[in-house]
Amino acid sequence: MSTTTTDVAIIGGGGAGCATALHLAWRKARCVLLERGFVGGQASGVNYGGVRQQGRDPAELPIARRAREIWGRLPELIGTDCEFSVSGHLKLARDHAEEAELVAYAETAREYGIELRVIGRNAIRAEYPWLSDQVVAGSFCADDGQANPRLLCPALARAARRAGADIRENARVSDIARDGDGFVIRTADGNEVRSSILVNAAGAWGGEISARFGEPVPIETIAPNMAVTEPIPYFIKPNLGVCGGNVYCRQIPRGNVILGGGRGEADAVAMRARALPEITLAALRRAVALVPRLASATIIRTWTGIEGYLPDDIPVVGPSRTTPGLFHAFGFSGHGFAIGPAIGAIMSELVLDGRSTTPIGALTIDRFGGCDKVGELPDRARSRNH
């Protein structure tokens, strides 16, 4: 058993936690990251790999822009690009109501400095002849792209270690106590970390930790259902989504098509998640309806991951309202991979400067009014998707 004293303790080695450790280490703060399994072993390592700004809740757009800037500089920052490519993100409308939705969203995005190009029926057919007649319009964000989720967290963690962070795997936080103004964090392997600051970056399990400090949130565990084909000739360049989000796909240059749609099953307590075959088959049908050429492909793998969703589909990012020194960044509601790199920058600013240069006001933990059940919520719209 050992005791370590540090400035910042971070719970969770997903994209949010690893990026936080990296930014803190760059700024010479001492930090210890505690990850129950392997870094990137959960949602951050098994997701679809979409890196998009388009379609996000406006509350997330400034974060997404900042993240996009970091994605573009990964090679110089951490020595690898994590297979990030600027393929563009094309969001498709399959009826006129959806087309109107795309047009309206493009207006909103422009206010945040994000340029989207709305493409009408004829133009989209000319540009993407492999799309089916189902498609009536599209909206293209040239600046968006995709990356390999399996590579991001280990690369962030390696860079963080090089910069001096203490990254511990197989270290499950089993107990957290207050000690004066600081925290005493115990791990299941019997070690102890003492810190003045605690960052809760525990993903789908972040609600467990916030609840310990009297801040329960109505977090729900959801598992996006994923599948991948064996390589076929490369023809889908942009990352593809649809209004409503019931199917999405992207192709990597080596030929595999990664596609998702619908939800698998997840058990956050048993830490088990499985794709559901019925859902997979339905997603495959939708994908073929959208891109008929996919009919000749063959699925070689399906999977899912454990993700924490909040009722308004945006995360909690910011200081605790009950406990000085505690900061939260969790519940990314299905789209936190792309913004993870910026979350690290934001959290390091919150911790070291007391404020973030990126607006995060809409992401406060007290927006749920302290209730932990969806049913108890004040009336709130559920909105965003792929």
């Binding site: 399996r150 064996e230 088959l281 699925i299």
Partner: protein, 458 residues
Amino acid sequence: MSAAPPPVIVGAGPAGVRAASVLVAAGLRPIVIDEAPASGGQIYRRAPAGFMRGAAVYGSEAAKATAIHRTFDSLVDRIDYRPQTTVWNLRPGRLYTVRDGVCDELTFGDIVLATGAMDRIVPIPGWTIPGVYALGGAQISLKAQGCVVGARTAFVGTGPLLWLVAYQYLKAGGTVAAVVDTTPFATKARQLFGLLRGGKTFINGLRYVATLRLKGVRITEGAIPVTIVGSTHVTALRWREASGREGSVDCDAVAIGFGLKPESQLADLAGVAMRWNDGQRVWEAARDRDGRTAVEGVYLAGDGSAIAGADAAEIDGALAAYALLADRRVTVPEAAVAELRTRRARLTRFREALDAAFPFPAALAAATADDTLVCRCEAVNAGELRAAARDLDAREVNRAKAFSRVGMGRCQGRVCGPVAVEILAAALGMPTQALGALRAQPPIKPLPMTAAVRLAAE
């Protein structure tokens, strides 16, 4: 009586056929699913209708083959037989199949997984050149089609099957260019006592070797395969003898086989724990001596749970069916079960001797050259795998898969997995089993997208 759904058997090899016959005798009507067009499994695979070579193709095992085929044929009216049907996924109580490109599903209560084995490969430089076959594939070509894979075929690897198939090629009129066994003669000789337990099987083995020698086939033992030569097609096989001398033979086909490994993916999906078999250096699904697993209603039989050969598979099939019946509170013939267990235990001891006589060459696998392809689906070579282990700290096999793509392709590591773990373990200085087992992910066999669409059309 009970409204329980009929038991399901996956696999119509010796294990599945025996399981079916016990269940039918108890008055049940099992559903028997097999992706092959006919029953028989690997060893007693049937030739397509119209082929006339008959039971002779099974050599010394002809009588057993005929018995299994007759048994199955006599059951066909009393079971729900679904040939050419692949199980691609399994969830608690539910099976997902694809047949003729159409998806289907069925509910099950009890299931016997008798999914058999597949070849084990150690990648020899050049192993992806056209003209190189897995040993089992070379044998299937002979059994199912009456064809040899080459005019001059070299056999390289280790294990009893290596000698058997070489012998079968010779008997069928093929030319055996050489048999290159990585196991030294002395290693086999040391197991003589244990091997004698195999009785007739062992005697047959000796006969295969003697015949090959008698016919002047070039034989070398304790050799290290160096390379398979060829550009558009195989032209030669090279190796290094135990003495250090280089050996080489011209050939137009090479059959590689380093023993077998269980097809345990369905058991894995069913939630059965995997355990490490140190003698065979593979992961296998955990079960008791009767085939019962820790997952209620899931039973395992035959080579799909532990490589032990066809005779053991038959016994396993019967035992698993009796276990299933006993768990359903059906009275089973205790004396018969006890006798089966005794015979099975004897075969297990024989198998242990065989495993020791023909050990999987873990050191050879671990030493795979950096530029040799390990995972052919994803084109990952040994050097890339070592780099993932060292630079990315992949100390668990599924991590190594995530980082390097090894085992991520269409075979899902069924071919490269056992080699990859040896390479990783050596690179990291860890015991092989400490790397864990590759997790099965559905579909366990590639699923055509059209199958999903065709389902919609129903």
